[in-house]
């Protein structure tokens, strides 16, 4: 936990610096404006476009230094903890859950939302949850079917279908 605290503070510090750098970008259509011209008060215009995000990022960076100081002094609970950020059980559990979630997200581009929901629910309920096939199939078929009728048919919000698009054309012919 202690190591994770300082690594996170370091990453967030870098993120704050990059936000400061990006906030200083002027408009691309005005070549006379140089970087960081927009973070102060501009006569007749008031504070520039980078004023608010830049100074917020400065405060964020100072907070990261403060968190690092607390880590060094061991005053915050995570900096005092000798426990690992994730134990072996937690790491394994999260890898399979987060892996499944990312797989779900990526498969939407290939087999669309409904196909991805079906596969993700089978993966999670059957292989992670070790539930019976009857439970698994009733949920993993029921939810995409309900979603299709709710979104595509009732609300006319067409969810992406990827390569499974042709399978849905007869359904549209019937219900729309």
């Amino acid at each position: 936990m202690r190591k994770a605290e300082i690594i996170t503070a370091f990453v967030l510090g870098l993120f704050s610096l990059s936000m400061m750098w990006k906030s200083g970008e002027g408009s691309s259509w005005n070549p006379d404006v140089s970087r960081f011209d927009n973070i102060g008060f501009i006569d007749g215009e008031g504070p520039g476009s980078g004023f608010w995000p830049f100074w917020l990022s400065v405060i964020m960076f100072i907070c990261c230094l403060w968190i690092a100081y607390n880590w060094y002094k061991r005053t915050s609970p995570p900096s005092q903890s000798d426990e690992p950020f994730l134990d072996s059980h937690g790491t394994k559990l999260l890898l399979v859950v987060v892996g499944g979630l990312i797989g779900f997200l990526l498969s939407i581009f290939v087999i669309g939302f409904y196909g991805a929901i079906f596969c993700f629910l089978i993966y999670y309920i059957k292989f992670l949850g070790k539930h019976r096939w009857i439970t698994t199939l009733s949920i993993s078929i029921g939810i995409p079917v309900f979603s299709f009728f709710f979104f595509d048919i009732a609300m006319r919000i067409i969810l992406p279908k990827g390569y499974l698009e042709p399978l849905f054309i007869p359904l549209y012919d019937i219900f729309l």
Partner: protein
């Protein structure tokens, strides 16, 4: 008299079949969401916000969607007690204090007494706070009508300052959380100059800005679920509950021993709920503490005191109504859930703030009327559905979690029809999980991303008015005291740190 007439009309509109139906569905969803460990009112409201567009499309107004979400909020406050008592795990953080006495009561075979006490105390807390809300809201709104840009910015500053001064979390992490929320709210085109800002890696998806729902669903749909999966390893043990009519009626009779805790929770909860950064969780904890402190038998607390269940349960319901007061009258949410409700109001085309009461009475009064109706619906459903909720609590987390993940992804896509937002939502969820593990408070970031688009123009317009002079926030009669209080709250932890430092040295 005007108020009473408006309220009566509001109640009549809230009783229309569509609104009553939505209140019933909302309360049932809320009870379920609140009862499920790991899910609270904010999860329910955030995940279901995209679905309110359908309701708006169907009814044509913003009243019915708001009644639906407010009913979820209420229902969740009732539902939190169910798992606190039967499983010993708070269904939501707002029901943490309910575990202290609710669980011992359940373990001694009196779970039905605790459940009925929680339901009735919630009802009384919710009703008292709604009466207070009805009296206070129009008054506060009329005062707030005189607020200009500096006053509104000062109020926003006060809202964030309370997180720092009273939040109780790690100070630099709280300030970081506020600033990152405010900074991320600036992504996209600057509405004053029209210049693009913070377009990371020149990805065009950032041009439309980071949408509030993406952050809210990411934090509460993905991040919180991952955190719950990691922190709950073994299955909890459920207490036996006597759900016979005789047992329930006896418990209703026994409620007379809980009046003191109920009254303390109902009044204290409301006023704590009004404070930004406070909300229902500190309201419930504080009410429990005060009830114990003022009790003739404080030694009974923690061992199964009925008052110890009534105080936090009435307080969390009361605080949830209290938190609506600054949201509706000033446009400043008092809790993450009200931040989501505020974002919903903006999406439905309303302008939250003092003008809401004068310009949109047809929205405000039916909503207030629905608070009364939702409370009655919630207590009746809660008492009659106790056996059903007990059955549902046995639903394995390995079924609930993937369904929540699916709802989060589908809900985000349905709201904006943009796969970039779905990917960003998952990324925000993963980041939220890491930050949650390291004790970074995330509620301030969620509040900040809602308030950011309001706060920044107010600050810039104020500075334009004063020609860049910050004294405008100190010299105006209303903005001045508010800014000073905000600064005191911001610097309060520093004063404490310095005094502690010198005390240690001495």
């Amino acid at each position: 008299m005007d108020i009473l007439a408006s309220l009566f009309n509001g109640i009549l509109i809230a009783l229309e079949p569509i609104n009553l139906g939505l209140a019933v569905i909302g309360v049932i969803v809320g009870l379920f969401v609140g009862a499920m460990p790991g899910l609270g009112s904010v999860n329910g409201v955030a995940i279901l916000l995209p679905f309110t567009f359908v309701i708006q499309g169907f009814t044509g107004g913003a009243t019915s969607p708001m009644i639906f979400l407010a009913s979820i909020y209420y229902g969740a406050m009732y539902g939190g007690a169910i798992s606190s008592i039967t499983l010993g795990i708070p269904g939501a953080s707002t029901a943490v204090a309910t575990v202290f006495d609710g669980r011992p009561l359940a373990l001694s075979g009196k779970a039905h007494v605790a459940l009925v006490t929680a339901a009735l105390a919630s009802f009384i807390g919710g009703t008292i706070s709604t009466v207070l809300f009805t009296g206070f809201a129009p008054l506060l709104a009329s005062v707030a009508l005189s607020f200009g840009n500096p006053e509104i910015f000062s109020l926003m500053l006060l809202a964030f300052a309370t997180f720092v001064g009273l939040g109780g979390d790690d100070i630099p992490k709280t300030i970081f959380s506020i600033c990152v929320g405010l900074a991320l709210a600036t992504v996209g085109f600057d509405i004053i100059t029209g210049e693009p800002r913070l377009i990371f890696f020149e990805i065009t998806g950032f041009m439309h800005g980071i949408r509030f729902l993406v952050v809210a669903i990411g934090v509460y749909g993905i991040g919180e679920m991952l955190w719950t999966i990691n922190s709950t390893r073994s299955g909890p043990q459920m207490a036996k509950v006597d759900v016979s009519m005789k047992g329930i009626f006896q418990a209703i009779k026994d409620f007379r021993f809980a009046w003191r805790g109920t009254l303390i929770g109902s009044t204290l909860g409301f006023f704590v709920g009004i404070l930004p950064a406070a909300g229902a969780t500190p309201g419930a904890l504080m009410s429990y503490g005060v009830a114990k402190l003022t009790s003739k038998n404080p030694e009974e607390y923690g061992k199964g005191s009925i008052d110890g269940v009534a105080a936090p349960e009435s307080a969390n319901n009361s605080a949830s109504t209290g938190a609506m007061l600054p949201m509706m009258t000033l446009g400043i949410p008092g809790s993450p859930t009200t931040a989501v409700l505020l974002a919903g109001m903006v999406i439905w085309g309303l302008q939250p703030g003092p003008l809401l009461f004068t310009n949109q009475p047809e929205f405000v009064w039916p909503l207030i009327g629905s608070f009364y109706i939702s409370n009655i619906v919630a207590v009746l459903l809660n008492l009659s559905f106790i056996p059903v909720f007990l059955w549902m609590l046995r639903m394995p987390f390995t079924i609930l979690a993937p369904v929540i993940f699916v709802l989060s992804l589908v809900g985000t896509y349905a709201a904006y029809l943009d796969m970039f937002d779905v990917g960003l939502m998952v990324l925000v969820g993963l980041a939220a999980f890491v930050l949650r593990m390291l004790d970074y408070p995330l509620a301030p970031a969620v509040l900040a991303i809602v308030l950011g688009p309001i706060a920044e123009p107010k600050l810039r317009q104020s500075l334009l008015l004063s020609d860049g002079d910050f004294s405008i926030f100190f010299t105006r009669p209303i903005a001045g005291p508010i800014t000073v209080i905000a600064l005191i709250l911001i610097f309060l932890p520093f004063f404490k740190w310095i005094t502690n430092f010198y005390r240690r040295k001495a």
